[in-house]
């Protein structure tokens, strides 16, 4: 590695004996890891886990076309709609939380506390079961979307609030000092800066939202996990394999997205000190901002 990890200071620069010791413990831990993996693989193999049929059947071209692809699209659809809903709700509630009006602050506070106290499963399942009992039929996609949007809206509102509160109050004061109205201060001074700071947290929460679409399973929405079980019932020999495929697809999507989020996080983190440096020398940088757009 080019950059030494933080924890490396805990060690002395290793001498020949230390290097040998680390090498020995590396080999030792490698053996332990391999032993565990090997034992698990041996056990699985003895149960026929790796038999080609068990994997080939649920991954048949026809099954992929008729089950897995629609399931993937359903998952992405629920996630996409949930994201939009959560962002819209989160923005409204978040600005309600920091509103100048006490009633708005109180109401959005109640909203956030209530929905953050509930498990997401219940937010999806309760409307589903209540409506079912009354006899109203709604596409189960909506329960997933609404449940996820309502819950993540509360979480995003909190992120928005803390992102705006984290900004030094001098920023808003400076905006007011040059004669901007409250809304203008928010729009041109506070929000653009807060947005950059909270972007990683928001994106990370949206990845969580995508993972949570798996809860659609509870309301019989045919997303990946439900499909995994359905395929597993069609091929009882491949029951475990089907579930692993479903979980694997979730993993691949979420893992890729989290990697992207951490790249964004690194970039936003790098930008902030640079911008601060550019402003520091004099007042010249102030005129360059977008304040005069109004």
């Amino acid at each position: 590695m080019s950059k030494p990890s933080q924890s490396s200071v805990l060690f002395d620069a290793l001498g020949p004996r230390g290097r040998k010791r680390v090498a020995a413990s590396s080999v030792g831990s490698l053996i332990v890891v391999l032993a565990i993996v090997g034992f698990a693989a041996y056990q699985l193999n003895s149960k026929g886990f790796f038999e080609a049929d068990r994997w080939a059947n649920p991954l048949d071209a026809l099954v992929i076309e008729n089950s897995w692809l629609p399931a993937l699209l359903n998952t992405l659809q629920a996630a996409g709609m949930g994201c939009v809903g959560a962002l819209v709700l989160g923005t409204f509630i978040g600005f309600g939380r920091i509103s100048r009006f006490k009633v708005l602050r109180f109401l959005s506070g109640v909203y956030v506390q209530f929905f953050r106290a509930m498990p997401v499963v219940m937010l999806i399942w309760l409307p589903f079961t209540s409506l079912n009992h009354i006899g109203v039929n709604v596409n189960s996609l909506w329960f997933v979307v609404v449940g996820l949007a309502v819950y993540n809206g509360a979480v995003l509102a909190e992120i928005l609030r803390s992102g705006i509160n984290a900004l030094p109050s001098g920023q808003a004061a400076a905006g007011q000092a040059i004669g901007l109205r409250h809304g203008q201060v928010m729009r041109y001074v506070v929000f653009p800066q807060a947005f950059r700071n909270m972007l990683p947290a928001v994106l990370a929460q949206l990845v969580v939202l995508l993972k949570d679409t798996a809860l659609g399973y509870i309301v019989v929405y045919t997303e990946l996990l439900r499909t995994g079980r359905l395929v597993g019932t069609d091929y009882p020999q491949s029951y475990l394999q089907s579930l692993i495929i479903a979980a694997g697809v979730y993993f691949i999507i979420a893992y890729t997205l989290s990697k992207i989020v951490s790249v964004v996080e690194k970039r936003t983190r790098r930008k902030v000190p640079k911008a601060a440096k550019a402003v520091a020398p004099g007042l010249s940088a102030v005129g360059g901002g977008g304040v005069t757009v109004a």
């Binding site: 805990l10 399942w125 798996a214 995994g228």
Partner: protein, 215 residues
Amino acid sequence: MKNLDEVVRLFAEGLWGTLWLSLASFALALVLGAILAMMNVSPAPPARWAAQTYTAFFRNTPLLAIILLAGFGLPKIGLRFEPEQWALITLGMYTSAFVGETLRSGINSISLGQAEAARSIGLTFGQSLRHVILPQAVRTVVPPLGTLYTALVKNTALALVLGFPEIAAKAELMINQDVSSVWAIIIGLVVCYLLINLPASWLISRAEKRATFAR
């Protein structure tokens, strides 16, 4: 509501189930998470790789997928546990990935100067970890660990797919018996989760206050 006693009894049972399950799996998560954090800062690459793989898997796979995989999939190849045990194991392993990351970032949050100072007065690796780094790391880690616990309490609701007798499963039972009381049950549900999480966050903020120190 026909029978208030019955409702109160069911909720109390569910509350006990959730409390028990969340505490037990959090204990498991703390132990596993500490091991993961140690593997993550260890000088042996294979240990780091193993910890990273474990963490990446559990952080990026939906908890419900893990629970179904363990509770319904693994028994097919002969790995049998009681549903209660599966609930505890999966919740504990899932949370441990997050605990491990929290502990690791706690260790990394201690400024390099602290470690350098400890090293420069001649403490060994173990001594500097025990007397300088960890006492400070533990303090920075208390609030995020508390957040993880409150999230875990809500995640226990997923154990209902395994038939674990916690609050959500009890609520499901009650609604299926009498759907007209759905509003009362929703309120009861929220009250139950708050009954666990409010004292928990109070305890956490107390622990946080006691753990903070001038830095």
